[in-house]
Amino acid sequence: MNVQAEHHDGVLVAKVEGRVDSSNSQDFERQLHEAFGDDAGAVVMDLGQLAYISSAGLRVVLLVAKTLGQRNVGISLCSLSGPVQSVFEISGFNRIIQIHENRTDALAAAGK
């Protein structure tokens, strides 16, 4: 698992690669906090290269979304595919976090 941070016109994009499970979810949380820092205006998590996530990783996504929400920082997800997308939908996360089909749509929405 690896989190890469990129900046696009004031929007922070965190690209997550690999697998997030109970054995590395703490590391996932730490890497996300490092990527987001304290000054991001809006955050997009690009999950196009995320191969697997279980409830341990979903818990981290929810925690991070809540923390950013309290700071009035918008967060959205993009590029979910296959079983990863199903897992987010079954969890009801599509109702609490905006999910976009691709990064372009996510950046356009975040920039508004």
Partner: protein, 139 residues
Amino acid sequence: MSASLTLRVPNRIEAFAGVTEAVETLGREEDWAPDVAYAVVLALEELATNVVRHGGSEEGASEIEIEVVSTDTEARVEVRDGGKPFDPFHDAPEPDTEAVLEDRKIGGLGVHLVRVLMDEASYRREGGRNHVTMVKRRS
């Protein structure tokens, strides 16, 4: 084709990486569709994690037995442990997947995912052990 796999691992979260690898190898050999492999690996992780957290014995002090049987029609998974009686499908709280972000509780999702992703899930207490059996159909 039919193949099976039995693993005994210590009740430690770190022990789980080897289980994932072994099950994914079996899935590749048995030509499972991606959603079947994902569901089986996730079901095993969620249930084994539950045993580690709620089984009542110190981490690393007991063993979890995992059995996976793959046939042409289904992947069948059983997780057995000697911890205190715990039926994850009745004793675990149901998450509120309709809640808004501010009200959404952290956690409680694992068993919910297993219930939805697997086609069958059942629990029995037998011989002083918990047995959780789950089935994912392949078509």
